[in-house]
Amino acid sequence: MTPERPPARIADRLIELCGELRAEGLAVGTSEVLDAALALESVGWQEEEGFREAIAATVAKSQGDREVFDLVFDRFFFRATEAEALVREPDPEGAGTGGGADDGALAELTIDDLAQAVTEAIESGDTGRMNELARLSIALFGRDGERSGVVGVDLQRIRRGLGISPGGEGAGPDPEGRRLFERQLRRELERRQISSQGKLPPARPLRDLSRALPVRGASDLAQVQRAIFRLKRRLATVGHDPRQGGRGRTLDFRKTARASLQTGGVPLDLRYRPKRPRKPEIYVLCDVSSSVSSASTFFLSVVHALHDSFRRLRSFVFIERISEVTDHFLRERDFAAVSERITTAGGVADVSGYTDYGRVWSEFLEDVSTDLGPRSTVIVLGDARTNGRPPGAGNFRAVAERARRTFWLNPEPASYWNYGDSAMAAYAPSCDGVFECWTTDQLEDFVDLLARNGGDASVHPAALAKPGHRF
């Protein structure tokens, strides 16, 4: 079987779809679009599964991408079919589309029967039947005049009426099937709303919420990866300081002698050994105490991404004491497993589980700081909340002086700093830069700022903080 060429309009659709994917942060280049189009030529594109998989294989290049792809794909084609239907039969009157056919059956149907049927369908996993029942339940609840016109509210009402609300006592045994049924309900409700209003509601971006703290969203992890990759580029050139110019260069005698042959043995042209750009060494210290628990997931993902990019990276976590976790990150790849292991087996909490910065700095200074040198960059991820214990700023300064650069990323908004037990002011003077950092965007800002201030070894402290909150 040689599949026929897809119609020309599908190319437009494909480009639109890829546009939406890009808007959600997938790196879909022209070459991917071309590949997808070529793939559709050789796959039977009339079947949904083949069609979806063919585009996915050419466009989504990681597990995280794939998750986003599936969501966007569903949204896109649902909206596309609805838009098409609107064009074909502009029928604003038909608020109850397909209602006529169901009416006969509706008359003798009770809510209990329906609930029974729904439970059965969910248990048997019959998606076609579920879809039918979803329509039926909407029609039934619509008949009782309980339609509010807001999808979320209607969904809630039907769910309650059928006794399939999540966690409710009447909940079916199969949460997966229940979720599926709910999805169909929601879709059906949306479809009705669209046809009754005669226009499409604006598309909802996928990640409105996750703009705040990226917790486990795979595409957010990918964003962290990208920001870190740029950080790596930036740091790779650190230590290759152009201002040092002619000082301290070593003569390459062999090359000079060879070059002198051209001038009759007189070394006119001196050759020097090339300066090797030194590889940066990075020390990351990450607070994992309960006060930053939501942020520490983000921070651990930052550390995780850093480990991908830097070979000379040592990572530490701390609460009351500090503990090196470089090995954990090197051995374990799965992010969930790493964070689990670190928070349970890191041996960082002693008794209280409250951060003790003073102790952490003195331990770090004692154990590690002899390794710090002019190539070292220290990055601290923490909220600087000392729980009333001494901040140990002197030790921190000693650490910062040994390292070439020290940065502090704080997961709290800058306006919260120095209120209560936050000791940001004690640490900030020793740092080359302090930043608020609780979204991937801010992480990127941090990288950008590093990049802009490139040659200078220092970034002006609090350069990112708003004017009112300077130190």
Partner: protein
């Protein structure tokens, strides 16, 4: 776009059947991507947990299409000389000397060009795959073990199927290899590499398919036992283990059970043969504690505390 000599399959189903013929049970996505790879001439980037048959896919493709398998096993520090080509400098030295003695007075004629000829070239897997007159399957295994610099080197090869040797010029592929790249996801691969590949994620198969796979590789096991085995392995995978059992370990276990003559898996059999599927001390204890007790009595809830 596609190679001249290799015949390309007509449909994903055909690929799936060919793979099944090479004793690899592919699901729809796998056969679709394998099909697309041959149609579009793109490499396949395969990711997934260890031991789900990523490498096996390449081997099966080679068996199914009757192509030779050229394998490049990646490791940290792998460089061009080991992966692409190297000049055989000993032979070059000998060549110069031989000509100098044989040629006598016109020994000066030994030109640089002559010692940089193909016969002094040591072909490494990548060049071999490109230069082979017969179409091959090229397997680049565990690419995540190499440095990012190595990936950059692969780009020319993967997008244009050619290799540039400064002294010789460009070596272009005479036939189009099927390229399979596997990664265990131990680091993020570069965008540039991903852009050139089709992406395929292989996960642990569903219970039914895994039972089929087990029976395919160990025909001696009866259906009920295979079903039971896959069920237990599924339970073990759900635990938070350092290394969950892979498909190949399920197969090993099936072989062990057949050797032991077991006809059901109870707590004792599990304890005796556990080491074939679980390979860490702490994992062993965890599985024995959580899964073991459920097997003997047939109820799987409730784990004894301790």
């Amino acid at each position: 776009m596609t190679a001249s000599t290799a015949e390309t399959p007509e449909s994903p189903t055909e690929v799936g059947e060919a793979l099944a013929g090479a004793s690899y049970l592919a699901d729809d996505t796998v056969s679709l991507v394998a099909f697309l790879a041959q149609r579009l001439g793109r490499p396949i980037l395969v990711e997934g947990p260890a031991g789900v048959g990523k490498t096996e896919l390449a081997k099966a493709l080679s068996r199914a299409s009757g192509r030779e398998l050229v394998r490049l096993q990646c490791y940290e520090g792998l460089d061009e000389a080991k992966a692409l080509y190297e000049w055989n400098y000993r032979k070059q030295l000998l060549g110069i000397q031989a000509r100098a003695t044989a040629g006598g007075e016109d020994g000066e004629e030994v030109g640089i060009d002559e010692i940089f000829a193909p016969e002094y070239l040591l072909e490494r897997p990548l060049l071999r795959a490109i230069a082979s007159p017969e179409p091959v399957v090229l397997l680049i295994d565990e690419i995540d073990k190499t440095d990012q610099e190595f990936e950059a080197m692969l780009l020319e090869l993967l997008s244009d199927f050619q290799v540039t040797i400064p002294e010789l010029g460009r070596v272009e592929a005479e036939t189009h290899p099927i390229v399979v790249i596997t990664s265990n996801d131990s680091r993020e691969l570069t965008e540039a590499l991903k852009r050139r590949c089709l992406y395929l994620w292989i996960d642990y198969p569903e219970a039914e398919r895994e039972a089929e796979i087990v029976r395919l590789h160990e025909p001696g096991i009866d259906e009920a036992l295979a079903q039971r085995l896959v069920e237990v392995v599924g339970q073990v995978r759900e635990l938070d283990l350092r290394k969950p059992p892979s498909i190949s370990e399920s197969i090993d276990w099936a072989r062990t059970l057949v050797l032991l003559g077991a006809d059901d898996i109870d707590e004792k059999t599990l304890r005796d043969s556990l080491s074939t599927i679980v390979k860490h001390r702490s994992d062993l204890d965890l599985v024995a504690e959580k899964v073991g007790p459920g097997l003997g009595r047939g109820d799987r809830n409730g784990t004894p505390g301790g």
